[in-house]
């Protein structure tokens, strides 16, 4: 993966930059010794590593503003970091950058049940947002798999989704307001405790902008009352295509499950060996979950099972209790870990129209043979968000490159059938150079124009999202301006 050549001029100014940062932050919030900055050398896309020049851990919006003002005046690139769980390399540093970590900013500022919202500092983890309100019967809906660790800051940067977004939407649908610090240190407030901020939808624009427009330090999030209950049904099919048709029929029937998860045979086999969840050995497995009172759940599950029966399932297992539900979810939740037991893997994130599911799965199977790499599929079938896991051996010469080439082919296929490169992980560096596949020059130009407005010097997370050749001229201007 190509990254821009670090700016030697910036690195030469390191001592001065550190001294200035020390002026505005406590000493333990400025990390500049090489053995310590190494802790920030990568995120969850561990194939790529580069220690930053400096890492800072501010504790307030004011401190974030001070840091950005200094970096702005010194011409130092800044890479914002939540918890470092990005699978796309969104928080990958460059050798000339300051990593701005929000991990120390994890307070709950306000909970307001009358208006069904919570305001938090963005270093707070996703799950602990729900943790702050669940005793009172509320929850925060977006639930990315990394929710135990991932920060709201990163959720906003990547517009994170999760298994339950079929019903509740992704981050952008649950975000009411932000406090954001611009690259020059200016603090702006967008939205608030009400629906649909006035004027242009800047909130929608910021969400998913991968830390390139500003650093969000506080967020007002919509919270929802917990449903009375939820239970899944597990169904197995001996054909991917039939499982895909079943998903489509469930959706058409007017039942709106909170989640429809899909696993294929390689994934089922790996998961069974690892978690022993008692899954049937078949070509495709669906987990469909619905919510409501017991009677409502029974009614919906019956409708769903009636549809499933028309597709001759090899297994149909309705959960009748919390224990049975946990067992059904156990395998799905262990899927990534199970694949990781077998080998290193790369997790893709393309989205496709649900109708293309059978075709795409068949093509992935064929490509798996062509490239000689195994692949397991586990994904959110209700919304077409796929997660092919390609297995490779990081210690084997050329295997990573082969895996990346295979991944790129899968993503091109996703775009070809009317889908997109990434449904919830973000572009980062991982899919940066594939953006040409989905977008033409004018499309990329319109997006980069937005960054020009928010960050004219292109100092915030500059080498991400846009293909390097497309953003080169803009990033060079920033360098030349020094």
């Amino acid at each position: 993966m190509e990254m821009p050549i670090p700016d030697a001029g910036v690195i030469a100014r390191k001592a001065r930059v550190v001294a200035r940062l020390m002026d505005v932050l406590p000493a333990d919030a400025v990390i500049h010794e090489e053995r310590e900055t190494k802790a920030y050398e990568c995120d969850a896309l561990t194939a790529y590593k580069c220690p930053p020049m400096v890492a800072v851990l501010p504790s307030s919006t004011r401190e974030v503003s001070d840091v950005l003002r200094i970096c702005h005046s010194e011409g130092v690139p800044v890479v914002p970091r939540g918890s470092g769980t990005s699978l796309a390399g969104g928080a990958l540093p460059t050798a000339d950058c300051v990593i701005l970590g929000v991990a120390r900013m994890n307070d709950v500022i306000e909970t307001d049940y009358d208006n069904r919202l919570i305001r938090v500092q963005t270093g707070r983890t996703n799950l602990s947002v729900t943790g702050a309100v669940e005793a009172d019967g509320f929850f925060y809906a977006p639930d990315p798999s990394s929710q135990l660790a991932c920060a709201i800051a990163g959720n906003i940067a990547m517009n994170s989704g999760g298994a339950h977004c079929l019903k509740y939407g992704v981050t952008t649908n649950n975000l009411l307001g932000v406090t954001m610090v611009m690259m020059d240190g200016e603090v702006v407030e967008i939205g608030g405790g009400y629906m649909d901020a006035g004027g242009l939808d800047l909130l929608g624009l910021i969400c998913g902008s991968e830390g390139q427009l500003g650093v969000v330090t506080e967020a007002t999030l919509r919270i929802l009352p917990k449903p009375e209950g939820a239970r899944p049904v597990l169904m197995g099919f001996d054909d991917n295509e039939v499982a895909g048709a079943c998903v489509s029929d469930i959706i058409k029937a007017g039942v709106l499950p909170v989640a429809i998860e899909f696993m294929d045979r390689p994934c089922i086999e790996a998961t069974e060996a690892f978690a022993k969840a008692g899954y049937p050995m078949c070509e495709a497995l669906l987990i469909v979950e619905v919510e409501g009172s017991d009677a409502e759940i029974d009614h919906q599950l019956n409708l769903i099972m009636e549809i499933a029966r028309r597709h001759n399932p090899v297994e149909l297992r309705e959960s009748k209790s919390a224990e049975e539900s946990a067992k059904i979810w156990l395998g799905r939740k262990s899927a990534f870990g199970a694949m990781g037991q077998i080998n290193d893997y790369m997790c893709l994130d393309g989205t496709i129209p649900v109708s293309s599911l059978p075709l795409v799965l068949r093509r992935i199977g064929e490509m798996s043979e062509e490239f000689g790499l195994k692949v397991g599929n586990v994904f959110h079938a209700g919304d077409g968000n796929m997660h092919p896991l390609i297995l490779f051996d990081a210690n084997k010469e050329g295997d990573l490159e082969l895996c990346e080439a295979f991944g790129a082919e899968i993503l091109k296929l996703c775009v070809e059938v009317g889908g997109c490169l990434t449904g919830e992980h973000g572009v980062g560096i991982e899919k940066r150079d594939l953006m040409h596949v989905q977008y033409g020059a004018a499309d990329l130009e319109a997006q980069m124009a937005v960054k020009d407005v928010f960050d004219p010097q292109w100092l915030l997370n500059p080498a991400k999202v846009f293909p390097l050749d497309a953003s080169d001229a803009r990033r060079s201007i920033a360098l030349a301006a020094e």
Binding site: Y194, H299, M435
Partner: protein, 372 residues
């Protein structure tokens, strides 16, 4: 000018040398100054995959055509876009492009989201005539910046939409309503808040002080609706109101009227739309001293009918929300501004975006400008 293809639209915008007033059916009273540029000629449903809950349509497609196609598959636009004809006294055919350009969301916004939450992809022509696409036709998409959201609610000031793709939802089996009679504004908002804070999935919560009715809508399978109405009665038994239940037909009639602000049709005065934190709504409405008021979104939306020319923003002062002038004379709109002025930091970003997407300032000029 009525264009009939995206290419023609692009060529026209590139060559035009004066401001253009961008419009679909021009039914919402929200066009800017200049020569009319209508996209009504860009019409037709391009793709409808009901098994994937998605539709793609040209921007000028009539909303009625879309709703009819959806109804055949027992689906709908869940965000319940209002029809502005009766409120603003317009004629013409509402278009799907207009719905998204104005981010028109009805009472169900509180449970399923706004129009912008359903918009999946756009094609548009920017102020220099470049054709741009963003998003797509899948429900989850974080590939690059979300210009889809930016275009929703931009009222044609950043570009002229030529095609939209959006998510649709199944139509529920039935609906019903629990009606609370006799609450004052404060008690009504508190009751609506309690209902929204319950797990019973209220999909509409409105209060009309004139009729004294607070109405809570429930939708879904028949047994489920009946069950949830009973549970809600328990939640609200301390509210001090007389409770009654409406059947599906009465519920549908009421919410169609609520969506279109029916109580204000044919009545004099200006109309303001205030989006606010629900709990402050009764205080705000009192400050407003309106001729009439109507609450929606469990208090998060207040419709105010006022004496013509009233500067509502001056009356309301600073608050957590914003006020939009929906119906007034063009003189009043010019004097007060249609949209709430933005704080300087945000205004700078807005101005920057408009300068980049429409450097000549020709698209719906004046419509979203702050009043000097």
């Amino acid at each position: 000018m009525t264009v009939i293809s995206e290419q023609e639209l692009a060529e026209y915008v590139a060559s035009v040398d004066k401001p253009v007033s961008v419009r679909g059916g021009n039914t919402r009273g929200m066009a800017g100054s200049g020569e009319a540029l209508s996209v009504a000629g860009l019409s037709g449903i391009t793709l409808y995959e009901h098994g994937a809950l998605t539709m793609v349509a040209q921007a000028g497609t009539p909303v009625a055509e879309i709703e009819a196609a959806l109804a055949k598959e027992n689906q709908r636009l869940a965000f319940e876009p209002m029809d502005h004809h009766g409120l603003v006294g317009s004629t013409g055919e509402p278009t799907i492009g207009g719905v998204f350009a104005a981010n028109v969301s009805g009472p169900r916004r509180i449970s399923v989201g706004a129009a912008r939450d359903f918009l999946l992809g756009v094609r548009f022509v920017d102020g220099q005539g470049a054709i741009v696409k963003n998003g797509g036709r899948v429900m989850k998409n974080v590939t690059g910046y979300d210009l889809v959201k930016l275009m929703a609610g931009s009222f044609g000031t950043l570009g002229v939409m030529s095609e939209v793709s959006f998510k649709v939802l199944p139509r529920p089996e039935t609906q019903g309503a629990l009606v609370l009679q006799g609450l004052d504004d404060g008690a009504a908002v508190a009751a609506m808040s309690a209902a929204m804070g319950s797990p019973y999935e209220v999909s509409g919560a409105a209060h009309n002080p004139a009729s004294g009715q607070t109405v809570l809508r429930l939708e879904g399978f028949e047994a489920s609706v009946a069950y949830r109405i009973e549970e809600l009665k328990t939640v609200l038994k301390g509210a001090g109101a007389e409770l009654s239940v409406w059947d599906a037909d009465a519920t549908l009639d009421f919410w169609n009227g609520q969506r279109d602000v029916l109580p204000f049709h044919g009545a004099d005065g200006d109309v303001w739309r205030v989006s606010c934190k629900p709990s402050i709504a009764p205080t705000l409405a009192a400050k407003a001293e309106p001729l009439a008021r109507l609450y929606d979104w469990a208090g998060g939306l207040i419709w105010l009918r006022t004496t013509t020319g009233t500067d509502m923003r001056a009356r309301l002062g600073d608050f957590d929300g914003h006020a939009t002038l929906i119906r007034a004379s063009s003189e009043t709109k010019a004097r007060l501004g249609v949209f709430q002025p933005e704080a300087p930091g945000v205004a700078k970003l807005t101005a920057g975006l408009r300068a980049r997407f429409d450097p000549r300032g020709i698209l719906n000029a004046g419509l979203m400008d702050a009043v000097a």
